[in-house]
Symmetry: C2
Subunit: 196 residues, 2 copies
């Protein structure tokens, strides 16, 4: 079966936009999505890259650019009150769901992205995250145990190292085979690659 | 008359790609192009931005990405033997043509871009530039005088400062009114803005 690998971080608004579109694109191509949660901060550190918002003028343009894409896609986009957001626990949660509760993975990702960039909640605040998890039907104590699991922590480190080793420098990054496409604005190339 | 302002540097392969497409887009919208030669190095210095190639993984991806767009557009793309290229004299030439020989401007830009990224010549070498100019019918001594003209030098500085003041951080950057679009991969937004 065809597949597209999707390296993402919940703290990346471009990854959020890609997440709203990729399932349709994959379904149209009869392809499956291989989800690759990674820690974008770790990727930046390893590659020497940095968030676009570290250049003030780029950050300002990017907000308008993301809004134009959100309008094109017909999806909500609201930036959280403070940005960037520390996503370590949330990304460990994504790996944990894959390892221990795979049936809950899609619902978990949806809850995180909709809260972070659909509604613009302050997901840097653990209490806000706890509220979002509860509303999505996740038990707080079980989630805390999941994200404290050494194998889960190591899984996120391994995904991040794997991403860097494959040439990833930002998020989202999609692979079709070894063809690497960076950015939600490259979904058309992903669709073309899947159609081949 | 509708217009699109195009801030560019001959050393930017993305600007080259945009240059191959923008005239068609502008013509289709009945818009004129306002050419804004600027010094990208000056923009980087003023904004804290840097060439994508300063992050090795990003530079590697970018080369493949530019090649995919060149194939989509059906235009040649060949990187010069060393990159980035110091474009100071060439950019002064562009401003000089606008100020002193406007009828020659389009031909000059075409000669520069085709040599730099269409054929991948070593335009960091003044002798190579001289050969390209001669082949395009420009007199070497007249060109040297043009690029040494104080008003021309100041014109390039002024364009670069104007760009930074308007929020430009890279090349190419297009404005439709005060809507700013960064990157040759945003030509679709430019076309949409011109259609409104």
């Amino acid at each position: 079966m065809k597949q597209v690998e999707f390296y993402f971080d919940f703290g990346s608004p471009a990854s959020y936009l890609a997440w709203t579109q990729l399932p349709k694109i994959a379904a149209a191509a009869g392809a499956r999505i291989v989800w690759k949660p990674m820690l974008l901060g770790g990727v930046f550190k390893a590659t020497g890259n940095a968030s676009p918002v570290t250049v003030a003028a780029k950050g300002k343009w990017m907000m308008g650019d993301l809004a134009r894409f959100a309008a094109r896609y017909g999806v909500p986009l609201k930036m959280p009150p403070s940005f960037p957001v520390n996503t370590l626990a949330m990304m460990r949660g994504a790996v944990g769901m894959q390892m221990r509760q795979p049936a809950d993975f899609d619902r978990y990702v949806k809850a995180m992205y909709e809260a972070m960039f659909g509604r613009g909640l302050n997901m840097g605040d653990p209490d806000v995250v706890a509220g979002v998890l509860a509303a999505a039907g996740f038990d707080a104590a079980a989630f805390a145990a999941l994200t404290a699991d050494a194998a889960v922590k190591q899984g996120l480190v391994a995904n991040t190292e794997e991403a860097v080793a494959r040439g990833v420098f930002g998020a989202p990054t999609m692979f079709v085979g070894e063809d690497m496409h960076f950015g939600q604005d490259r979904l058309d190339f992903v669709a073309q690659a899947l159609a081949r």
